[in-house]
């Protein structure tokens, strides 16, 4: 059947694998977005800028402090997550009770500011960041050459996604979080510091974005606009998965990567648009997304 379409099966496997790798970026990013939306009810449009900050902080760590990739993988999310905490305290907490629209506009404005400031300091064409030595080279799988770094990206993102899922669904902290999502006032009445929980959740979601940024730094161009267009796609992933659904975001992230990979073989021009086509179809058939609960 594959030969009928003019594509040998080996090439198809290769493309699917690559799709999975791209899907892991979608998964981490949409996971962060979904966590934030779940508790704060805010569509975090700054997410793309925070992903970019993760990559830049990794670059700064290396060039100003001499900190290597592995340390940056921990340090950058912490630093960027901390800026997220500040943003939440200063801005987002003031508009928590308002409609989605305002949160979206506010975070969009913040994204513009952050991207503009980085562009003023570092220019727009980007900065070099090398693949760490331990992850250079690759494996010849017969049907394709798999760079070690890409394999690492899939593994790292799977670990992070599953750990996050476990934390939210299976631990006590996660239970508080879910309770606060369900009914903040009642949870507060039980003596849980909900505002603190909200702040930390936002910081955590942002840290996930920064983590994806560090992962991306060695393979994608590190430039101030790297997250600007991505955000729309990731947002679509969250909607398809069901707003606020953790598992939905993870599964949809990986599977849309696969779908996109297939599109790149059969109709490459449409690979940036296919996600939106799926989004319309899903929303018309399952209004709350694939994994969302109907409101």
């Amino acid at each position: 059947m594959f030969e009928l379409l003019g594509i040998p099966p080996q090439a198809l496997f290769g493309q699917l694998l690559l799709g999975l790798i791209n899907g892991s970026f979608y998964a981490i990013l949409s996971l962060g977005l979904a966590v934030i939306f779940g508790l704060l009810n805010i569509i975090n449009f700054t997410h793309g800028a925070q992903y970019m900050m993760g990559a830049f902080v990794a670059w700064m760590c290396l060039n100003y402090l001499g900190v290597n990739y592995w340390a940056a993988l921990v340090l950058a999310p912490v630093i960027v997550g901390f800026t997220g905490v500040i943003i939440e305290r200063l801005f987002l907490s003031r508009i928590a009770h308002l409609d989605h629209l305002y949160g979206l506009l506010l975070t969009f404005g913040l994204a513009l500011i952050i991207q503009g400031l980085f562009r003023n300091s570092y220019g727009s064409s980007g900065l070099p960041y090398q693949i760490p030595d331990a992850l250079r080279g690759g494996y010849n799988l017969g049907f394709m050459f798999l760079p070690t770094y890409r394999a690492w990206v899939v593994v790292a993102s799977l670990i992070v996604c599953l750990a996050t899922w476990f934390m939210i669904e299976k631990t006590k902290l996660g239970a508080y979080l879910r309770a606060a999502t369900e009914n903040a006032t009642l949870t507060q009445a039980f003596g849980i510091n909900v505002p603190l929980l909200v702040t930390l959740t936002y910081g955590f979601g942002v840290a996930l974005a920064a983590f994806a940024g560090v992962l991306a730094a060695p393979i994608y161009s590190v430039n101030p606009n790297m997250g600007a267009d991505l955000i729309i796609v990731v947002f679509a992933v969250v909607v398809i998965g069901g707003m606020g659904s953790i598992m939905g975001a993870i599964v949809t992230g990986f599977s849309l990567g696969l779908v996109e990979g297939l599109t790149k073989v059969f109709y490459p021009e449409a690979s940036a648009t296919v996600i939106f086509i799926i989004m319309v179809l899903v929303l018309l058939v399952k209004p709350a997304g694939l994994f969302g609960r109907a409101a």
Binding site: A11, S124, N223, G261, P268
Partner: protein, 400 residues
């Protein structure tokens, strides 16, 4: 009222300047990308270059008062055309310089013709500016898609890279680059084995690179620009494509892109440029001054072209003793060009500025001795070989 005051003012100024030299004041607008993809290779640097031209020409001593304004067209034709209209209609701008991004350049080209002003383009690539969209009011200064294709495409085929696969950014400009280069490759005896259209702008090119790899072509032509080029080169290294023997040909790569990639990743890349700061003493001295004003960054060919074009424009104003666009334009085409950056050259009837182009290879990290020491020269393309001959021109201005 306003006009009378203006006339009076001009008369007074003329009197003050004395009989020997009449005061001419010109206003030049540098329009480019100041916030996006091309901000580093044009942007504020182009404004600095234009100012340096005014200084070096000693315009003030020659009785020419020059004012430079600048604006950001955000790579959008509608923004660019709005600015151009306002500059010409409202702000009394006489000439617009730079304008990278072909779609914006074509819009400015059109308006400049309509308003009979002057447009000296340095940043844009489209060879249509001196082809079917050519205008008596536009000079295309630094480079174009034809010259890039001729340089990189021609040289690669001669060096044995005779089968090509294109990774083309899916927009009109990418298609034009692919078409022009493909034609040169075929003309030189090579063949194009395939092409893939990539959504623009994109981040992940690995699956397209795999398709390129599967094609077994000797050369992968990157018919894209900016971030797309950087990403595809970065990922080609990662997937071991270059180490497996396939060569990458960057069809539109600037020194700022190489700077962003780092030599480790970019080494071995072959590309065509019109200017390199380390070419000779003249370019080195000028680039040193430029870097001081531009935060240590060396000039791109686009910025060098803005300097060179501005200088020639001022010379023409001096020679015609006025700024009448038709007269100045005629003078610019009649006078030979000469400056330390591009050497001697000329401006053709279709508006094409003629000078040599250079084929460079990016150095290995071990070969690079200093910051920005990136290129070694592979070949020089004589102006007549680099640019499209007038006999093949689609420009209605060319009498055959």
């Amino acid at each position: 009222m306003k006009t009378t005051a203006l006339l009076l003012g001009t008369a007074l100024a003329a009197l003050a300047a004395g009989a020997a030299q009449a005061q001419t004041s010109v206003k030049v607008g540098v329009m480019n990308d100041r916030s996006g993809l091309y901000a580093d290779l044009s942007g504020e640097g182009s404004v600095i270059a234009a100012r340096m031209a005014v200084e070096d020409f000693k315009a003030a001593e020659k009785g020419i008062k020059v004012e430079i304004v600048s604006a950001d067209h955000q790579n959008k034709p509608d923004v660019g055309s709005t600015i151009a209209r306002q500059w010409y209609d409202q702000d009394g701008v006489d000439a617009i310089l730079d304008v990278p991004t072909s779609s914006v350049a074509l819009a400015v080209n059109q308006i400049t013709k309509e308003k009979n002003k002057i447009h000296i383009n340095s940043g844009a690539a489209s060879s249509d500016l001196t082809g079917k969209a050519c205008s008596p009011n536009t000079i295309h200064w630094t480079y174009d898609t034809y010259a890039l294709a001729q340089g990189t495409g021609g040289a690669m085929v001669k060096a044995g890279g005779d089968s090509w696969f294109f990774m083309t950014a899916d927009y009109a400009f990418g298609h034009a680059l692919e078409r022009d280069t493909g034609a040169i490759v075929t003309k030189n005896g090579g063949k194009v084995v395939g092409a893939v259209r990539t959504p623009f702008p994109g981040t992940d090119f690995s699956s397209f690179l795999l398709q390129a790899q599967a094609s077994k072509a000797k050369v992968i032509g990157l018919a894209n620009a900016g971030g797309d080029t950087i990403n595809s080169i970065k990922q080609a290294g990662e997937f071991g494509i270059t180490s497996a023997g396939q060569k990458l040909a960057g069809l539109l790569v600037f020194i700022t892109d190489v700077h962003a990639l780092g030599l480790q990743t970019a080494q071995g890349l072959v590309l065509t440029e019109a200017f390199y700061w380390d070419n000779n003493d003249g370019t080195r001295a000028w680039s040193e001054r430029f870097a001081k004003a531009n935060g240590g960054k060396k000039p791109s060919m686009v910025q060098a072209g803005v300097y060179s074009g501005m200088l020639h424009y001022l010379k023409a104003i001096e020679a015609t003793k006025g700024k009448d666009p038709t007269a100045v334009m005629a003078k610019m085409k009649e006078m030979p060009t000469d400056d330390p950056l591009f050497g001697k050259g000329s401006v053709r009837a279709d508006g094409r500025k003629m000078h040599d182009m250079y084929l460079f290879e990016v150095k290995k990290p071990s070969e690079s001795k200093a910051p920005w020491d990136y290129y070694k020269q592979v070949a020089v393309l004589k102006a007549d070989d680099a640019f499209k001959p007038l006999s093949e021109s689609e420009c209605p201005l060319v009498k055959k």
